[in-house]
Structures are given as C-alpha cells and as structure tokens.
Symmetry: C2
Subunit: 649 residues, 2 copies
C-alpha cells in the first residue's frame, strides 16, 4: 500500500503549545501573546512556507496567518487572543515553488548569469497558480506571467519582488502538496484574572472588632475598604460551612475540644448542614451575597474554599452512606496516614459504585455557590481526590460558567501537581515557599516559565498559609517577610498571603513544626486592624506597583540577570507591547547589607545598548543613571531590601 | 457526560520508548535491554502496582512483567528481547488495595496498635480477590482470608508478607479500576549488526594490483582476507553501475572529462544500463554474487550504495520522462544550488503525478539487489529525496526482508537527520566528523545517548569519507588518524572508514576545500596493499578489541568521566550482564603528551568502591593497580595516544 499523501514533501512535527498531544488545551489569557510554533522541514533545498489557521469559538471562518522561520527548522507565529473563549489552531506548510524559483533567480542574476529560461519557468509557475485562482486574481496573475516572460533583468527583478505577487501566488497553493498537521489544537483563553491576581486569605470568624465575638460577614464587609487600599483583588475565605461537632479538634489541634472551641472550618458539616450551608454564626445567605456585592464594587472577588471531605456528623454520612468506606466495626473509615489517624475527617470513597452520584453531587456544590455570586474556588488538597473526577468536573462547571477560576491547593509530588494543572486547574500553589537560595529560586522560576509547563501550570506564590510558617520567616522576622513578599509579588503574576498574620509578621511556630502556634484554624482571633506595620506598608506599595506596571502582570516574561553576589537576586520583566520595563534586585539575606554588580539583560529587555538609561526605583522614589550591562546595587534589608526599578530610555 | 472510566484512579503518562506518540517503533537489537518506563501515579496515598504486557510478533499470548518504582513517580521494566521481530508492549497500573492495607497494617503493628479490625478488613480484601480467582487459587485465597481473620499479630505478619499471597491477589485485580495506557507501542528488534558494525569503504575499481588496470570484483575477492584480518565485518562499495558519459566530470571534478577519465560512480546510468546493471569493467553479476558469497564465508557483508539520481544518459530519462522536471528549452532540470549547477546529475521529481510509479520502481532496485544477496544499503543523500518515500519504502522492503540494514548518508540539519532515523533508517552518519574538542564530543555523545534519540537514531561514526577530509586529519597526520579512529571505534558501536586512504593516512586536500585532492571519486587508484602502516596496525588492534569486549558493542552504555585536562577525554563502558568493563582515556592532542587525573565513575560502572582494582591496557598490554575514583594517566600521541583499560575486580 502506498501512502495516500505521497506528494506532500513537507513534515510538520512538535507543534506547540500542545499539552499531552492535544488532549488538554493550552492556557492563555486575553491579550497575552501565545507563541504557536512547530518544526517544519522538507527534503532538499526548496523554500518552504507555513501558516497557522486560527478560529475563536463562535467564529465562522478560519483566519490564516503566516508563520516565520526562527532557526533550526523552527517556525512560529505569535497569536494575541482577543476574546476569553476557546481558540483552535492548525498548522500547515508547503514547498513554495514560487519562492524557490524567485530566490534562485535573484542569485543567478546577482552572479551575472543569463536567465531567459528561468524567466519562462517563473512565468509557468505563475500561470499555474492563475489556474486555480479566483476571477480577479486570475487576470492579475496572468498579466504578471506574461510580463515576466521575456522581461529585461531589471524589469524581472521589479516584478518578482512585488509582495502582491507573492501573496497572490500563495493564495493559489496546491492542496495536493500542502501538509496539514492532523490535529486541531486548543487554547483555553481566560479572563485576565486567571493569570494575574492578588489574594488575601482571611478567616471571617476573626473579623469582629469586639474581642470575644464571633466575626460575621457583616464584619468582613467593613474590612473590605481596608483590604482594597492594600491592593488586593481577591479575598479568600476558609470553609464557611457548619463545623462538625463529633471528634472536633480543640486549640492547637488538641484531640478533644473544649465546649467553647469553634473547631476547624475544614471539618465540614454537622446537623446544621453541609457544603451548601453557611455557619450560622457567620450570618445568612443574604449577608453573604451582600458581602460579595460590596466586594465587587471595590473590584474584589470573594474566593471560596472547596474541601471535599466530611466531619463525622455531616448529613451526607447518613444520607449517602455508599459514598464512604465502612469498617467491619460499623464505623466510617476516617483519613489516616498510618500510624497517624485523623478521626475528625471522613474522605469520600471515589471507588464507590455510585461514583456518578457522588460526582454529580460534588459538581452541584460548585454550581450552588456560583449561583450565589462566587466565581473563584480555592480547592483544598485536590490531589487526595480522584484525578478523573477533576478532569470531568472542571470543564463541566466551566461549560456554563467559563469565567470560573480554580486554584489547586496541592503541595505534593511534581507529576501530580502538573497533572492537576493539565486537567483543568486555573492556578496552582507551588514549591515557592521552600525555595530559598538564589540558585533554588532561579531554577524553579526557569522550570515554571521556560519548559512546557508554561502553557498549563499557572503558579500562585504564597509566602505563608495557615498550614505553613516556613523557618525563614520564623528566623528572619519582619525583613524576611518583606523579602519573601517582594519575591512572590514580582516573580509570579499571581500571589497570595495568609493575611493578618503576615501583616503583623507573626513568627512563633508550634514547637518542632513549621506551623503557626495558636493557629487560627482552631480558634477565633482578634486583630487590631488599624495598627501601622512596616510589612503592611510594603504590601500596599508592591500591590500598587503591580497594578501600575503591566510587566508584573505576566509570569512568563522574566529575564534572569547575573549578579556578583549569591545573596543578591536580579531579574528583568518587560511588557514590550507597551514599553513597560522593570528591573528587580533583591537582597535575599534579611540580616545583612549586600552589594553586587548586576548584569542587565539589555537586549532581551529591549533597552538600547548604546546610550545611558534612567532607572527609577518605584519603592523608594530614587533615580539613577545607568549605562551598559554591568551596574552597582547595595541593599540594606533593615531599610529597603530591594530595588524595583522602572527603566526609562 | 460523565467519563466512562470514573473508577480508574491511576494515571499513566509519558510512556517510553515512544517515538512521536507511537507513530514509529523504537529501535532495539536482540539481547539489548530496552527500558520500558512511565510516569504512574494516583490521588492520595494508596499503594500502586504496575505491569507491562509484552508480546513478540508471532506470539499468541501477552506476558505480564511487574514494573518497579524508580523515583518521582517513574516506574520501569527492563525488557531483553530474544527475537529479531517486532515487539509490542502496553503498560497498566492500578491502586493496590492489598498492598496499601498490608503497608498500613505493618506500620500499625510496629507502632504497637491493636489491629483486629484491620485484620478483618484484610480478610475482606483477600476474599474479594478470591471472588474473581480461578478454581485452585480461589480455594487458597479463601484459606488465607480465614487464617488472617482473628490471627495473632505474629501469625498475621507471617501470612501477609508471603509473596505467594501478594501474587495471588494481584492476579485477581479489578478490571474496572485498572488503568491501561491506551496505546500499544512497538519495538523494532533487529539483528545484532543493526547496532554493532564495522565498515570499510572501498572503490572496487581501485582493487587491481596491476597499475593501469580497472579493478574488478575478482580483485576485491582477493582482498577480502586482508580486510577480514583488519577486523571489518562490512565492506561498502560506492555505486557499481554504468557511469554516465554525457556531461561526465574529469579528475578533481573537472567540468569536462578526458577520454580516459572513468567518471564519478555517483553519476549513475548510461546506454549500458542503470541502477540494476553492473559496470562492465567490474565484472559480471556472477562475479558479484561470487564475491558476496566469499565475503560471507569471512563473516563480511557487502554493503551497496543506493544513490537515487541519474546521469543525463541514464535509460530512465527516455523511458520515464515523467519522473524528471523538464525545462522550457526541452532539457531535463539538473541539480543546482544557485548559482552553482550540477549538470551531470538529474534528480527525480518526487512531485511527479506518477509518483506511485516512481516509488515502485525505486523499491524494485532494493529488491533486485536483495535477491542478489545484498542485505545492507548505504543510501546516498536521502535528505534530498522525499521523506514520505523513505517512510514508505523502508518498511515495505523490510516487510519481506526484515534483516535489511539502511545507513543514511545525510549530513544535514538536525531535525532532518532525526526524521530519517525515525522513519526507518537503521543507522545514520553523524556530526562526529566535526566534533573535535572534549566539550563538543561529550555534548554530542550525551545528546545521542541520553535523550530520546537513543531509541531511534543509531549513530555510525566516520572519521573520513570520500567527500570529507577534515582539517584535523590534514594537520594532525598519522597521530590524528589514530586518535579519531579510537574515538569513533569506542564512542560508537558502529563506525566506518574510507579505507585505503585512511590506512595510509593521506592528508592533502583540494586547495581551499576539506576534501581529498586527486579524489578517487574521479579516478582509479592503485594501492600497495601489503605495505605496513602504523594506522593499519591500530585499526586491526581496535577492531579485535571491539570483537572481544561486548562493552564496546553498545553505544548506549557510555559513562563520561571527569578529567583534569581538557585535552584528555575519558569514559567508561560496561556490559554489566557479562561483567565486561572498559575505561577509555584518549589524548585529543596529536602533537603533545598530556597527563591528567581522571575520575572513574566507579558506581555507574559497577566497580567496587572499597578495594583496589586492576586496569589492563588492551592496546599496550600494560597493567596497573588503581584505587578509588581519581587516578593518573599520561598519554604520548607519538607512542600511543590512548589507554583502553579492561577493568578487573
């Protein structure tokens, strides 16, 4: 059997972005360029041309864009999606006989050869194109063909270098010899916030100003202007549902709770309700919706926590016993990591024969809260629930609500983190919290931005969480908090803080653990919301800088810069499309002043190399005139551990 | 729509070897281990088990082999194929409830917990397995289940750690929850020579001992014992067909030939015949077949050159004018690279409407020579012929003759070299000829052996060819010839030489070119076959060492070793399966003696780290006692530029 496409001489492979052979869409946001590229080559020395066909969902016709040769048989086209919908693209390429002939002709003319036969060959190529052209183009092409035949060398050069001729011939390319990459690939283009967001985590029950009182949604509503002033656009609540009473944990995770202990919000469900109910002490559904609306007015979205697990007294246990594993002693199997037992948490059994019923019910939880105005979900430990479930539920939810954002709170092995991102999570927690040295940070950001992860794994950098107080914060105090804040906020377009605790720079761990003592997970806190802290001031400044500088609104544009000091990290970020160029230098040592020569990647940032340029520190307001690649910085962590320079040229 | 496989909690991705998603088979040879691996993981903390199903073509049933966890969710199984046929494999994996339970049970017991409920749970798991077991196993499993329920802790530990129990439960795994990687992947297992071969290139017309005479196949037959003594197993001839007279090139590629000039063997075809004919001065078909047989007796195979191009007087031009491009002046389009013209060579037009006819005829050329006893083809410039054609013709030829070996003579861009290998070429010429420094050589061998190329691109290293006399040979003379020979012969399991010219160390280039002057391509040579040369002595020694040391019969087992001198390159090669371990140290500088400390990769080579070991130089016969990682070498290129140590421990 001969191949059907024996005349197609061009090969197209390694098309990018292509997540697992196109099984999953690549991720992008409105206005963010997506580089579509492929290895394209043929036999011999003929010229090749290549195009991308692009269609946004809802469009009726494909648009064709020419690809450009880069190097080593790599071709690319930069697509800037304009709508938050799925885009489709397909790559095609062909031996371009016209271009081959034209190139040869010009070389022969340059070498002083006589070209009458070549002109006749060219006329034939153009005539042939005319054969499959539409009416108007046909006449023009025929005219060109006639002109070229027997033209003088000068006239021939003028005609063949006419762009119009090239375009007209290209439009008539031969289908039989054009290679089309078989797969139509997808790009999931989302709203801007999917790629650029600034999160503040807050326990609503600690929002009361009056000590001893259980905070309410109304209390949180009063805090919104303050959070807005700090520059956050997303406020994320731990679960707001009734908390289990059976096996409830006490303060500092004590095995037995005292009567007044409020319990962990992640032990979801009691006789008062489950995942679709609100803890009565927080307020009513109406209060909640009022809060969501008030936030919206300040350009803040409320993000909800979705933790698919149950306290022993969650209504599901009685209503849907088939969704749990039962032990021979008639109790439900609790979570365990032998020999440890977590008796207050019952996991769902995703191998239940009623898995369809379970999946549908869990989906209905998302739908329920979307209906109440929520469009962002932070998903608790998604890696301990069936991956097949997420692969189904996220697209299913987004089918009717494409604006919904899912943040995966998975701190687990790399392959699983990657998987969750591929199968649909919009954003992902990362290993940032444990990347401390310059080398570690540079390697990690390179992995995130320069490998194929770039098209499916959108990082969200969190310096702390209610579960994680890293030792560098414990030891480095206020200065370390500022350093880690500035790193998170400038390395990643999305970042978040576990709020009040960070603002006040709390640093005391549970003995022997990397976790806060007297953890808010198990008790109600009261914060002095008005007290000045240096950390809060820095949060406010960096968030304003992020809003005003589009270069910080992408994670992918980082250019690492060499420095002469391992404690000084430096990188550039440029938004070439609107000329916003930043250069960030950070002292990673919270204790000592460090100075360094830093090597500005001028070319990659688009900074002219032949003239001095101004660098304007957006943190301090200082301005310096720099010149060439190598320049000097000195950073005192007790004053200001970083420069965030806006480069002006 | 819910996914159909909602209960399958394990994910299998990135299965290797997998060439372009399984479109092409991975390459292997008989007895060479193939590492089948995959990323395999599931949600949560349950234990996973994984298997590979394997079937050789012709087998009726799949064999199942357990995969082993390596790290970072990577699992693997080493398959050693025993037959030179296509193998198929498929990966499967499942949550192993028995293993999960067993691991938890042992941890709980170790922590001193009471486990009566756990034993009951385990008994249930085993009973459930018994449910789907076959008669005999069912009874055994039921017995085990009964024993475990209520067993003492000690008895329970004994039962659950019984391998037989584990196997029996595994055999009864639940299909509904077992993930099967959807693709069945192929491995093309070939005869040993596909991966290990030693080539000698020779122009038969230069084989005559009497000056002024045209060499014949009979003359070559007389040379075979000599070539065999030098240790070659493959003798490759440039084309042996009638040579075109029209536009024939003279000596040193002169535009016009003199009457006595024999022409280039690559200008194929004249009134005397084409690709299926033999140049009458070389002898008859009978002579050729006699030569092939005589070679076989010496374990030498004759490799033929296949150059799909025609001299202007090739019979095809008149008989199949549709296979060529015609110019408006009534001549056939010759090969050109504007402004250069190659008027003596007419390429086929692979875009001809009669491409099926052309393909079939070209295939028939292979079939014709296979029928005459040829099983190895060196294909001239495959990258200037349609890639789709090769993708079709190689499997088509091998369908009836799987033993046939194709060597791609492509010196072109990386993506095209890779493509030719993927679509079927058994072996490939490489960039070795232009990799000179230690850094270049190390990077190149790493790319060939440590990336996915390893499963489709089999290198053949050639220090020279009739087309290439690299400057390092010109300048470095005899010593450089020996250095490059030893590199080629030890870095790559397949290598070849353009013979007599190399043996005699000829080094004079055409002025301004990297090509031999008075090139044998355009004239008949006469060699003094009996003269001693130091280079020939080294060829003989290294080829004997290659035959006697299986570690040199694989390209994939290289372990680069650090050295303290950039002119000294060092690497180990070990065939662990039969304890053959070599350590090669080469001085890359043909002019000066260099010494260095070299760091032996003891662990990777399987050498014990706690005792001295003997290294026995197979080139010089010297023996040394070495100890630990770092040892000393000094290499004088005028005496012996390398050690090839056999490591004895």
């Amino acid at each position: 059997m001969l191949a059907a496409d024996g005349k197609k001489r061009v090969v197209i492979i390694d098309v990018s972005p292509q997540i697992e052979n196109g099984r999953y869409p690549a991720k992008a946001v409105i206005g963010e360029p997506v580089t579509i590229s492929a290895n394209i080559f043929g036999d011999g020395h003929d010229e090749i041309s290549a195009s991308v066909l692009v269609k946004a969902k809802g469009d009726r016709v494909w648009k064709e864009f020419p690809m450009h040769f880069i190097n080593n048989d790599r071709w690319e086209f930069k697509l800037v999606p304009e709508k938050a919908v799925f885009y489709q693209f397909q790559v095609l390429a062909w031996i371009d006989h016209f271009a081959t002939w034209k190139k040869g002709l010009l070389k022969k003319i340059a070498a002083g050869q006589d070209v009458p036969i070549e002109l006749e060959i060219g006329a034939n190529i153009i005539s042939e194109a005319a054969g499959s052209a539409k009416a108007k183009e046909k006449i023009t092409l025929q005219k060109w063909a006639a002109q070229i035949k027997g033209a003088s060398t000068e006239a021939a050069v003028e005609i063949v270098t006419d762009q119009q001729l090239e375009l007209a011939v290209c439009n008539c390319r031969d289908k039989e010899t054009t290679t089309v990459f078989p797969q139509i690939l997808n790009i999931d283009v989302e709203r801007k916030k999917a790629g650029f967001s600034t999160w503040y985590e807050l326990f609503p029950r600690s929002a009361a100003t009056e000590p001893g009182k259980h905070g309410t949604f109304k209390d949180v509503e009063k805090l919104l202007p303050r959070i807005s002033r700090m520059g956050f656009d997303t406020v994320y609540f731990p679960p707001i549902h009734p908390i289990g009473e059976d096996k409830r944990k006490g303060r500092n995770n004590a095995l037995t709770a005292k009567a007044e202990d409020p319990g962990s919000p992640w032990a979801i469900g009691s006789k008062l309700g489950g995942h679709k109910s609100i803890h009565p002490d927080l307020g009513t559904t109406k209060d909640f919706q009022s809060l969501v609306k008030a936030a919206k007015k300040l350009d803040i979205e409320i993000a909800m926590d979705i933790a698919f697990q149950c306290a022993p007294d969650h209504p599901y246990v009685k209503k849907h016993p088939q969704w749990f594993k039962w032990r021979p002693d008639g109790t439900v199997q609790y979570a365990e990591n032998p020999p440890k037992k977590y008796e207050d948490i019952l996991p769902f059994n995703f191998e239940t024969d009623d898995w369809q019923g379970l999946w549908q019910e869990l989906k209905s939880i998302f739908d329920f809260w979307i209906e109440k105005g929520i469009n962002i979900f932070r998903v608790d430990n998604p890696h301990t629930k069936s991956l097949a479930f997420w692969e189904w539920v996220i697209p299913a939810v987004r089918k009717d609500n494409p604006q919904v954002i899912f943040l995966a709170e998975a701190f687990t092995r790399p392959r699983i983190m990657e998987r969750l991102a591929k199968i649909g999570f919009t954003q992902s927690y990362t290993y940032f919290t444990w990347r401390e040295s310059k080398k570690e940070l540079e390697e990690y950001i390179t992995e995130l931005t320069q490998t194929d992860k770039r098209y499916y794994f959108r990082p969200s950098f969190w310096p702390n969480t209610p579960d994680i107080l890293p030792p560098h914060l414990t030891h480095g105090g206020e200065n370390a908090h500022i350093i880690r804040l500035l790193l998170a906020a400038t390395l990643s377009a999305s970042y978040g803080l576990y709020g009040p605790v960070y603002e006040y720079g709390l640093t005391t761990p549970m003995p022997g653990k990397e976790e806060y003592i007297d953890n808010e997970k198990y008790e109600i806190k009261h914060w002095n919301w008005e007290e000045y802290t240096r950390i809060r001031e820095m949060i406010t400044r960096i968030n304003r800088i992020r809003k005003e500088n589009t270069a910080l609104q992408s994670t992918w544009n980082i250019e690492l810069a060499e420095t002469t000091n391992d404690q000084v990290m430096c990188y550039g970020k440029a938004d070439i499309s609107n000329g916003n160029t930043l250069l960030i230098a950070i002292n990673l040592d919270p204790y000592n002043t460090h100075s360094a020569m830093v090597r500005v990647p001028l070319e990659k940032l688009g900074i002219p190399t032949d003239a001095p340029y101004m660098v304007h520190d957006l943190l301090s307001g200082d301005k310096y005139q720099w010149q060439g690649e190598w320049n000097y910085v000195a950073l005192n962590p007790h004053e200001m551990p970083a420069h965030i320079f806006k480069v002006e040229y």
